[in-house]
Symmetry: C2
DNA sequence: AATAAACCTCAAGTACACTTGAGAGCGAAT
DNA sequence: ATTCGCTCTCAAGTGTACTTGAGGTTTATT
């Protein structure tokens, strides 16, 4: 029994993080440049990561599958506590945020689908009147242009 | 009464198509370069469009809201008859194709959403075991990496 | 100490869907 | 005939999310 009874389990290099998370080293560099993950450096300027980076990267990939852009993921990750390692409740809060977003997108797509059959064969495809075409209607795109993957 | 009893309603210039369809002139040029629409030229090399270009553009914009990439839209549009002006049935066939795609995407997102609550807060975010992370699972992404907007 | 694998930075390239700008020609009205 | 707006082509730029490559350093192993 001593001061190192439970050792902190050595920190991780980029390569290790890459292997264990399934993303490329270049992507990790990229995420760091964009502020989604952080590292500190060895004397020789190499990156070292704490264990929680693995969960961070996992969450990043999941959010991407949900269609959330990196900038939005970055903002969400910034709401995590910096002082302590984020716990299950912290992560759950993130997921709730995205879940709402996802719900909205699913609703949007469902309405779009339901309009599709009625509208596309008929003559109504006018920007003003057709629910499929009007970008400002209750389907609620944020502005002009297609924004299927709108951040929440 | 004569040879022009019902006039074909003058053809449209790019500017007119742009105004009436709500897309930029540059986008119309782009669509033409990509093979989504066609035009013929005046003696002075200016584009002239038949009326059905308006519906084509409308369909392009709708498909984009559904998340279909231009290349896929182009392929779909190529299945339209070239000889005659496409009729309601032709357009409906297109919409059916995309509707199936859309249904699949909605299912996918819904499953992802349902996994979200269970998985993100817990410790299971491993690439091998977690349904949210495993890219080859029954959620059925086509390959590695996020493909939320997979063409059908 | 030497060697090889891993790591570093910075620049440039890729794919998608366009937009912007330059420089020049076309078309309708006066 | 002139003028002004519309149109032409081609090249380059935008934003997202990375990857690739060059040239050089660090770390781990022998």
């Amino acid at each position: 029994m001593g001061h190192d009874a439970r050792r902190p389990r050595r920190e991780l290099s980029v390569g290790e993080v890459a292997r264990r998370s399934g993303v490329a080293v270049s992507a990790l560099h990229f995420y760091e440049a964009k502020g989604l993950i952080t590292s500190h450096r060895t004397g020789g300027n190499q990156r070292r990561y704490g264990r929680d980076v693995l969960r961070r990267v996992a969450v990043i990939k999941v959010a991407q599958r949900l269609g959330v852009p990196l900038a939005t993921i970055r903002d969400a990750l910034k709401t995590l506590p910096e002082a302590r390692t984020p716990n299950a409740a912290d992560w759950r809060k993130l997921s709730e945020h995205w879940r709402a977003d996802l719900d909205a997108r699913i609703r949007k797509l469902t309405q779009l689908r339901d309009s599709l059959d009625e509208c596309i064969g008929c003559g109504c495809l006018s920007v003003e009147t057709c629910p499929l075409r009007n970008p400002y209607d209750e389907l609620g795109e944020a502005g002009p242009g297609p924004h299927l993957l709108d951040p929440g």
